[in-house]
Amino acid sequence: MGRIKQRRHYEERYRGNFFTTNLNALIGWGRRYSLFHYPFITACCGMEYMSAACGHWDFDRFGVGMTTFSPRQADMLFVVGTITQKEAPVLKTVYDQLVEPKWVIACGACAVSGGIYDNYAVVQGIDKIIPVDVYIPGCPPRPETILDAIDKLQDKIQHQKQDWRWKPKS
């Protein structure tokens, strides 16, 4: 009996009592709804982040509820605001301390590209320092945009090739 046929056979026989999936999708499903995020907030976009995180828009609804203030307990980094050259090593250190697997959201024009600050002091986009998964435009972005970014990141997490500790190396 082929694999698909066998699966159909069991699904017919035990309908409603179990479901079949693959491990990659299961782990993705688990990870997308249990993001612990570390808010790296440096500027005015933080206000929008706060309203998105708290009562009004409340992204806890989507499983991003846990805000941790230690990068060692977080797997998603929310970079909100202007990053200066002086602060760049700090951001790099925080990123390095995040637990694997990790994702980064750049929130606001300054974090994405330096924004209006094209000068001696400001890093022109945090992707010059760390890899970024989702970019949120806007100066500042509306909370709906932040929710949309979280939705997109969760889609990405669901569909990416998952890695885990005991996974056989190919």
């Binding site: 050259q85 002086k86 760049a88 090593p89 002091a121 890093v123 992707d127 010059k128 320092i129 760390i130």
Partner: protein
Amino acid sequence: METKKLTDDLKLNFENKIVEVTEQFGDDIIVINKDALLGIARFLKEKPYDFAMLLDLTCVDYQGRDPRFEMVYHFFSLSQNKRLRIKVPLSESKLTISSLTPLWKNANWLEREVYDMFGVHFEGHPDLRRLFMYDEFEGYPLRKDYPLRKRQPIFHMRNEE
């Protein structure tokens, strides 16, 4: 009345140190020589003028002019409700001026900022280090001859081979 009295008194006490006295929007602007700064500041801080508050202290770069830089001090007298601006021209070759930290404690960080951005050295400052920029930064970013596109990242950036 009070305005006249202050400028007259200053001219009387520091006659050859005062370069120019003007007035704008009801506030006095006094241009002085830099060696008289500490004396004049002490004179202003004491009674009866009582400029107890150093509001701000900054520098202007007039590139192309002979005394290229100009220090600008803003004082405020709480008892008289009066503001006063003092300007001190500084030539580029000798960019030092006496610090106001013995008189106003908040001059500490303000002078550090001016040192950071313009490279003015303050004699008698207890801790003259950069305030905003990092120690590895070379040059003074708010000078007019600092290149507009010059970047000095601390470490090697991604995507830039």
